[in-house]
């Protein structure tokens, strides 16, 4: 089998996104490298979701460049999981098979890969259940399984636990860790400091559409360099 083409590093330069006269992303430059878990941290409204949607290709930038290491990555090469999972009105397994079909996986392989993906997130028992009546936590695990089944090189996760209770959030964090261990690059946004501490290798601190800090998690939490990040950490700490 041919060596898969390498998507990373992802180079983002002078990226801006404006809509209705508001600047949501303001001249952001950064590089995403393979191997580590990158967490985009920042308060609500900082532009975390917009930044990931731009990188994933759901939004078109107003200015600047997004350059992958290969031209035009296919959806199966870089996947995204949203805060609120969108399930199709069919069974859990059929939801995964649908994604595999769009990714060009041959029909005879889909059932096996979907079953394996469900097993990895502990959902094999509800394979035949209609996806939309599952609990919020189960739906998010299914969304992770659906993205993971594509075997992407990069997975974007937009506040994947923000709508979940602590137990379900913990399960999702465990799955994210497992995905990381299979070699998929994790790029995740959160406003939850505890989660960032548990999962991050690198931190990108975003505030008002600008990257204010880019550091390893250890550095960032020991000694944030900007006043905003310091305030964010201190403001949040008592509750985490």
């Amino acid at each position: 089998m041919a060596e898969p083409r390498r998507l990373l590093p992802l180079e983002i330069s002078e990226l801006s996104f404006r809509i209705n006269g508001r600047t949501l992303i303001d001249r952001v430059s950064l590089t995403i490298r393979p191997g580590t878990r990158t967490v985009i941290l920042g308060p609500n409204g900082a532009g975390k979701s917009v930044l990931m949607r731009l990188a994933h290709g759901l939004l078109d930038p107003s200015a600047g460049r997004i350059r992958w290491n290969v031209p035009e990555p296919r959806p199966r090469e870089q996947a995204m999981v949203f805060q609120r999972p969108v399930m199709l009105r069919r069974s859990a397994r059929a939801n995964i098979e649908y994604a595999l079909k769009l990714a060009g996986v041959p029909g005879r392989e889909r059932a096996d890969r979907a079953a394996a993906a469900l097993a990895r997130v502990g959902l094999e028992r509800i394979a035949r259940s209609p996806a939309r009546v599952l609990s919020g936590g189960e739906q998010q695990r299914l969304a992770l399984a659906r993205a993971w089944a594509l075997d992407p090189q990069v997975m974007f996760l937009d506040e994947p636990t923000a709508s979940l209770d602590p137990g379900a959030a913990r399960e999702v964090e465990d799955i994210i860790q497992a995905i990381h261990e299979t070699g998929t690059k994790i790029v995740m946004s959160t406003h939850n400091l505890g989660q960032a501490r548990r999962l991050a290798d690198d931190i990108l601190y975003l505030q008002a559409g600008r990257i204010e800090e880019s550091a390893t998690a250890a550095e960032f939490f020991r000694q944030p360099r900007t006043a905003h990040a310091t305030a964010f950490i201190q403001g949040e700490l008592p509750w985490h």
Binding site: A79, M80, L88, R89, R90, L102
Partner: protein, 234 residues
């Protein structure tokens, strides 16, 4: 008052006896309107979904026209189809005027805008939720249209039932293009119109009762389907 109650009693007896003429009229009605719904679904559902999902020039205009055409007066549709199918018309050579096929065509023209406009609304609402996820998974336009039609299938089924209800209860268009020929193009609504004007109230009433029962049955089905689907599939 007594005349009416006698007519109702006679109508009930007619329905109960399974009168062959009555049954034939009823079956033709069903056949014509089911064909019309089927064809309208094949045109209207993809059209409505495409209008909901697509971003192309003229989309707004088309949507406005479609919504306006929901209220097309049946007699005007009948007249239009009549002109098309009449000997001198562009489709005159096929000799379809005063046949059940002509009635199907008229009903298709009448209900396709209804089905398309209602489908557009349903799919547009679902698209709000689905758009990012489907784009993320790499679904193109055609794939998205197909996925959305399948995912809103229970709501769309009630749209089709609404279209059928409109088609089967309509009289103006089928009267003009069908001609209400006994045993050939006489359907429930045209028979009711004729028998009423001729004073044969029992037959008219019997057909009327059947028509009402049919429409009630359809709406009950629509309601149950939605409820069950909502519970089972979310």
């Amino acid at each position: 008052m007594q005349e009416i109650s006698q007519a109702i009693a006679a109508a009930a007896a007619l329905v109960g006896s399974g009168d062959s003429k009555l049954v034939a009229i009823m079956l033709l009605s069903l056949r014509v309107s089911l064909c019309a719904v089927l064809l309208s679904a094949l045109i209207g559902l993809p059209l409505g979904a495409a209008l909901a999902i697509g971003r192309f020039a003229g989309r707004q205009t088309l949507t406005v026209i479609l919504n306006a055409f929901m209220g097309l007066p049946p007699v005007v549709v009948g007249l239009f189809v009549y002109l098309m199918l009449s000997r001198a018309g562009p489709l005159g050579q096929f000799g379809l005027l005063f046949t059940p096929t002509a009635m199907v065509i008229a009903q298709v023209v009448l209900i396709t805008p209804i089905i398309a406009a209602l489908a557009r609304q349903i799919v547009a609402d679902a698209w709000q939720d689905y758009a990012e996820q489907l784009k993320s998974l790499g679904a193109g336009f055609t794939q998205s249209v197909r996925t959305l039609i399948w995912d809103t299938r229970f709501s769309l089924l009630t749209v089709l039932l609404a279209g059928f209800g409109r088609a089967v209860a309509e009289v103006g268009a089928v009267m003009i293009v069908g001609g209400n020929i006994d045993g050939v193009t006489r359907v429930m609504t045209t028979a009711i119109a004729l028998e009423t004007s001729r004073g044969d109230l029992p037959l008219a009433l019997a057909l009327g009762l059947i028509l009402i029962a049919l429409v009630l049955l359809l709406n009950t089905c629509a309601h149950l389907i939605r409820q069950t689907a909502q519970r089972r599939y979310g």
